[in-house]
């Protein structure tokens, strides 16, 4: 129990004191883990917390937009995750098989995640707003054996299941009296026979745990393969960076379909025995402020897009509510602009602390710590145990001079670094240069060691904190009968940092009309996801291409950002 009550002492230390003699074994000891022992995230986040005397502590306060509420203690987490695990095992799912979670932010998603891990299977969470095409490519790539979903999303699975012969089970958590179809099976978590004792599969440090899909510039999304040992980083960063303390009420806005929602919406807080709240609702400023006030939330981990939406609603609505419970605010997903930091200082009396990391890192790697002076607009400094640098773009050597832009790079070896991309060794190897892992972002470091984000180093679009690959959008655009060629690029946006803009040439016989633009936008929204939907479509006669016929997105992107296009000698004259 004592290892969960030392946060105040940590928060009082300087950055230099924290980094001096840092070793990840600090977290191993606090988690009671000895190298070589079995380690299982599902057990660590539920049974272990009960053994620490917190069985009756509330682990989750859940609420939806209609005001429905549920709460679960850590003992509930233990028993209900056992129940899910037993159900999955009884279906014949074996350790190592992939089980997809495709749900809104309902309790079954959070508890099901722990249950899958307890069986030794790999949890594959996917954003429930994904369309059938996005779902298909990710389930095909992972060769997924089972999917846990809700009645409202099952039709998307039905559309694609014939193309997924290895998807043996479609588990519906709220089927009720609905007629189920082939391969579908109902499972009601709370009405199922409660399983008090479950033999948790003895996964070890390097056993696969979670498969999160992330987009790149080329090809289809890649499955980032995490392992059970990742909990070591997730536990400690949640404690030190998010400053989680025993009596905290913690709110992470992220959906577990993305890595923030699992690393810091499930694993980090529950490994710390922290009570968290979940609001299964879309954005509504008044509702969010009421939620903070009602639950007396103390730590809030949000995203710049959400913060900018709140800014848009003004400060009057903030002042209608009591937010005095808030102690620490942090943000992730995209760079937090200085205006947002200054606004939060004005609105809540404290700044949002920016944190930088990505699917592949599994945990926060560059950050503003509690107590560290915040330079508005800066990403902060590397977490202890993380060796970071910005590299020269040609030599891949670290840049030592302050203020010079380069590639953000990390020295491999921290516990939650992914161990590869699923079935894509070449793609994983390509992420390393000169012994460094390249994040795909550019930054500079100032004389005080603070990192300053400058932008992506590739064509990937960071919209609302989520990476969207242009290839996937372009492929889906070409499925529309009117589209002949297309290019998807980032366009600056005041709320989402970037949004998708598509350049399209039409097939002969099609005319540009208002209806056609809307039809194409909705086509992408339904096939892929709302994030991937172009917010603007520009119909053009031709697209810039190299002499070998490859579309040069760079030219289009630079135009959107008012940046110099650079060398055009390889572009074909049209």
């Amino acid at each position: 129990m004592s290892n969960l009550t030392c946060c105040e002492e940590i928060a009082a230390k300087s950055y230099e004191e924290l980094t001096a003699d840092f070793d990840w074994s600090i977290a191993e000891r606090e988690l009671g883990y000895k190298p070589g022992d079995p380690i299982n995230i599902g057990w660590m986040c539920s049974d272990r917390i009960c053994h620490l005397g917190m069985a009756d502590k509330v682990a989750l306060y859940w609420e939806d937009y209609q005001g429905n509420r549920q709460q679960f203690t850590f003992d509930d987490l233990r028993v209900l995750s056992n129940t899910v695990a037993q159900f999955v095992c009884d279906l014949g799912i074996k350790p190592g098989e992939r089980v997809c979670l495709f749900m809104d932010r309902v309790p079954e998603l959070y508890i099901g995640f722990l249950g899958i891990l307890k069986t030794g299977a790999v949890a594959q969470p996917l954003f429930s707003a994904f369309g059938d095409e996005s779902l298909l490519v990710r389930l095909q790539n992972a060769n997924t054996s089972a999917i846990i979903t809700q009645k409202k999303h099952v039709h998307k699975v039905r559309k694609i299941r014939e193309q997924l012969p290895n998807l043996r089970h479609i588990i519906v958590v709220d089927a009720g009296d609905s007629a189920l179809q082939q391969r579908e099976v109902p499972f009601h978590m709370e009405r199922a026979q409660r399983v008090e004792d479950f033999a948790v599969y003895p996964t070890v440090a390097e056993s696969p745990s979670v498969l999160h899909y992330t987009s790149g510039t080329t090809g289809q999304p890649k499955g980032a393969q995490h392992v059970h040992y990742s909990i070591v980083s997730q536990y400690l960063t949640a404690k030190w960076v998010l400053d989680l303390q025993p009596d905290d009420i913690y709110w992470c806005n992220a959906d577990p379909g993305w890595v923030t929602g699992t690393s810091y919406g499930i694993i980090g807080p529950w490994a710390n025995g922290t009570t968290q709240v979940v609001l299964d609702s879309g954005f509504n400023a008044e509702r969010w402020y009421e939620f903070i006030e009602k639950h007396r939330i103390t730590v809030w981990y949000s995203a710049p897009t959400a913060i900018r939406l709140l800014m848009k609603e003004g400060t009057e609505v903030v002042r209608r509510h009591d937010h005095s419970s808030l102690r620490h605010l942090a943000s992730v997903g995209e760079p937090l602009n200085a205006e947002a930091v200054l606004w939060s200082q004005e609105a809540f009396g404290k700044p949002f602390h920016d944190t930088f990391w990505q699917t592949e890192t599994g945990c926060i790697v560059i950050t503003n710590f509690p107590g560290m002076p915040v330079k508005p607009g800066s990403m902060g400094k590397p977490f202890p145990g993380i060796t970071a640098a910005v590299l020269n773009t040609k030599t891949y050597e670290p840049i030592t001079e302050p203020g010079i832009a380069g590639l953000i790079a990390l020295h491999p070896g921290w516990p939650s670094q992914i161990r590869g991309y699923w079935n894509n060794e070449a793609g994983y190897k390509a992420k390393f240069k000169n012994g460094w892992y390249l994040c795909g972002d550019r930054a500079s470091i100032d004389a005080d060691g603070y990192y300053w984000f400058m932008g992506r180093d590739d064509d990937v679009i960071n919209t609302g904190g989520h990476l969207v690959g242009p290839f996937e959008i372009e492929s889906a655009l070409l499925e529309h009968p009117a589209v002949y060629e297309s290019a998807a690029v980032a366009k600056p946006d005041p709320v989402n940092m970037e949004v998708v803009k598509a350049f399209v040439t039409l097939k002969r016989g099609y005319q540009v009309t208002d209806d056609l633009e809307l039809e194409i936008m909705n086509h992408i929204r339904k096939r892929l996801s709302p994030l991937a939907m172009p917010q603007e479509i520009e119909f053009v006669d031709s697209l810039p291409k190299t002499r070998s016929g490859k579309i040069v997105r760079r030219v289009l992107r630079c135009k959107e950002f008012n940046e110099p296009v650079g060398d055009l000698s390889t572009i074909m004259d049209d």
Partner: protein, 88 residues
Amino acid sequence: MDEITKLVRDYVIREYLEEGDDREITETTPLISGGIVDSFSMVSLKRFLEKKCNVQIPDACATPDAFDTVQGIVALVHRFQKAQPVTV
């Protein structure tokens, strides 16, 4: 139900409700906070209104709160239709 209300409601049902989702959409059903329309999809809804209702809604007024119900959306359309009378 006036013509614009019907137009908006039918569009929301057709474009944003998932197949098999039998939720009833009334004038006061929460669309954004209810997770039926997300803040990204709001853009296509705004584009639809601008084209079909011949109205320009300033980005600053196109907030998730303003788009949260059919009733709110219709009020926004009426407000800007009045501000920018349709010219024939």
